[in-house]
Amino acid sequence: MPQLNPAPWFAILIFSWLVFLTVIPPKVLGHSFTNEPTPLNVKKAKPEPWNWPWH
């Protein structure tokens, strides 16, 4: 079986790991995802009263 031919084994291994480590993760990590929108029935907490002026 030609897959058992030992000649390009190491080269294939090194090259595939090289591609796997350098090319793909930047493309995967580049995707950014927005936060899930919160459902409507979540109540906002009432603001605590404060004793200093606005500005």
């Binding site: 079986m1 030609p2 897959q3 058992l4 031919n5 390009p8 084994w9 190491f10 080269a11 294939i12 291994l13 090259f15 595939s16 790991w17 591609v19 796997f20 090319v23 793909i24 993760p25 930047p26 493309k27 995967v28 990590l29 580049g30 995707h31 950014s32 995802f33 927005t34």
Partner: protein
């Protein structure tokens, strides 16, 4: 004659360039690197959606320690699925039919999960070697069996991928040859064979995706045991 069909798996060289290098480096043109824009085009949105959902599904069985592996596992899935789907097109070469590639990925990643397990929680990791509830008499035998099954995992991972793809490609080539040869002599049989070929190709598409998924899934399972 049978040996001729295996020639499709020889690592091809053309004008001195090993074509497997092209087969490994060019598919990533299909995955544009996202910019910092929030609004992407359709292709990026689709890929981003897939990555998001897949990562979420994959990280479900893992505890927080295993979440560090998210990038690696997602990259692995994209790598395998892209290479295999492209390899199903006619006249393309599938690098994942090469045993060297699959073993080269299976052995280090499996070894990493085992070493992590042995470093962080050696008792639990070794405890996996003995299933609960074994009769006392069977304990030594079962430990040997479990150790062997642990050690054979990387071999199984790599060879499973290689063998499934190789067998699929071989079948496609065989049936295609049969249909082509039968066409002048018995057109009806040729049409039937062509139908079989079509169905087989659909199967191969499914197998390609499933096998990539299985590879990654098993890695997550090994990781789950060991984190």
């Amino acid at each position: 004659m049978a040996l001729n069909f295996f020639d499709q798996f020889m690592s091809p060289t053309y004008l001195g360039i090993p074509l497997i290098a092209l087969a490994l480096s060019l598919p990533w043109v299909l995955f544009p690197t996202p910019s910092s824009r929030w609004l992407n085009n359709r292709l990026l949105t689709l890929q981003g959606w897939f990555i998001n959902r897949f990562t979420q599904q994959m990280l479900l069985p893992l505890n927080l320690g295993g979440h560090k592996w998210a990038v690696l596992l997602t990259s692995m899935m994209i790598f395998l699925v892209t290479l295999k789907m492209l390899g199903l097109l006619p006249y393309t070469f599938t690098p994942t039919t090469q045993l060297s590639l699959n073993m080269g990925f299976a052995v280090p990643l499996w070894l990493a999960t085992v070493v992590i397990g042995l470093r962080n929680q050696p008792t639990v990791a070794l405890g996996h070697l003995l299933p609960e509830g074994t009769p006392v008499v069977l304990i030594p035998f079962l430990i040997i069996v479990e150790t062997f099954s642990l050690l054979i995992r990387p071999l199984a991972l790599g060879v499973r991928l290689t063998a499934n793809l190789t067998a699929g490609h071989l079948l496609i080539q065989l049936i295609a040859t049969a249909a082509f040869v039968l066409l002048p002599m018995m057109p009806t049989v040729a049409i039937l064979t062509a139908t079989v070929l079509f169905l087989l190709t659909l199967l191969e598409v499914a197998v390609a995706m499933i096998q990539a998924y299985v590879f990654v899934l098993l890695l997550t399972l090994y990781l789950q045991e060991n984190t």
